[in-house]
Subunit: 324 residues, 2 copies
Amino acid sequence: MSQLPKEDKMSSLLKLAQKFNCFYLSDLNGSACKPFVVKGLQVGLIRADVMKQLTNFPEVFHIHSGCVELNPAFRDYEERSTKVDEVLRKLRIKNAFITLKGWRDECYEVKTEFSASSLLKMDRSATCLFGIRNYGVTINGFVKESQQVKYLWFQKRSPTKQTWPGKWDNMVSGGLSVNHGILETACKEAMEEASIPSNLLKNLVSAGCVSFFFESERGLFPNTEFVFDLELPFDFVPENADGEVETFEILPVEKCVEKILAPDFKTTSAPVVLDFLIRHGIVTPENESEYLKIIELLHIPLQTVYKQYAYQIKENGFAALNSV
Amino acid sequence: MSQLPKEDKMSSLLKLAQKFNCFYLSDLNGSACKPFVVKGLQVGLIRADVMKQLTNFPEVFHIHSGCVELNPAFRDYEERSTKVDEVLRKLRIKNAFITLKGWRDECYEVKTEFSASSLLKMDRSATCLFGIRNYGVTINGFVKESQQVKYLWFQKRSPTKQTWPGKWDNMVSGGLSVNHGILETACKEAMEEASIPSNLLKNLVSAGCVSFFFESERGLFPNTEFVFDLELPFDFVPENADGEVETFEILPVEKCVEKILAPDFKTTSAPVVLDFLIRHGIVTPENESEYLKIIELLHIPLQTVYKQYAYQIKENGFAALNSV
């Protein structure tokens, strides 16, 4: 009786949107993950494989039946950050998780939502182990012809990158690290990754965001990307300055769907390209049968995925009280 | 312990986004509504006040404990459409619902999702009684200056319109009626509502969609709007041709937030304006603290709100089997 489309009838772009939302669509409900709670607030989700390792650090992580709690005796941001960092460095030496091989010495803030105050900081290679929400910026570098968007720039990641080595990616992107603003990060990355001069960067236009929830063998990725569009002159060629890019390529917009569907494109960078192609009238309701579903999957409600719970220790354990 | 922002600390635009999603955010879970099922598939939601009236038509609507079902003995699209139409005309004469005073003699298709085949058609004034998903098109008419988006056109609805009379609205919009395509509807409405000539309409750019779930005294509105942007020359002035518009006004983009927050702006037209202001860098993460939440609320996952259920009549009643 189901009217769900058969696998082979589903559009390729819808399949891609389902792929970068694989955790949202399949594992989120009734998953074996437990909420990760800091100071009474849920900031993440923890898989069973990670939980198993954390049981070795009972002085830092309290594993209850309903959640994993960071020791509430830790007094402040500094103490929480230090204690978690100590555990992560031990797990790294132990080779417990592949993601920690890519230790970055660069921290992400851990908070319930973007505008909330940070509860601790954590090396960016480790946040996926705790399902911490992750924020980044991406710049779509495009070229117009006869007033129409005609070409889009891509970068090929260096083969020595710690994540997604050698894959095709957006022209410029970067994670929002501790103490860096959104526009500031966009400009910094534009200069480092693509040597875009400030006279061109002044044309940067904020254009929204995409939200999705991906899972890989490394961990959980509830990602939100702030999106910027940047019109570039036809004769400008990006040039890498930080060694993290192998090459750049410019493609006619009609070739971009094929580009992001290819196996050598970084799955978690496809949402921003897809959003760009939709906003600029390249993917339309006339040429994409699953247009509406795809757009909804570019903006999943992460604000309701991590609801804010207040936890109270009761005599007989831990009771979750939904405070929303 | 909750970190939820206090009412007075929340941004005005987030409050607006919550207002046009009032049903999604508050009544959806554990509401008194029952799924409306046609041919074993959920196509809507029915409030208690509507259900009460439908009990008078047991030959058309079967009211079970878990859902309201259109009589499964009706053979096809035509028979289902005719039988429902007969009931609606009786309810209209009886003055049972204010929304039926605005009878349109124009039908919407009833289907599980946009790309599915239609199960019946229903006068557009009645679809909100059954919580039927509603699809429309909107055109943002804008003017550039020095290559930047600087002005946006609005229309003031005629005081004799059946819904939202005299309210400010998008420049051009219209519902997707039976037998009309998306682009076709956009062009038709552009000509009827604003006399936009075809040489300007060729610049129409598809720019995405917005999805939200509003409720009013009239009924339930799970709405999806296909969005188009149209750059207009500075000297073009829209002129109404069908008597449904009182006047048009052009505003600098910086004044548009104030415009949509005002009480004389049609609540369900605000999402498209907000999406436009976000896509064109007028509302940004730097000037709007609740940027991310607002964007998610412009694209709520209606595809999962109306999951597709298969219903089977069992000896002891009706059992809902989730087929997803």
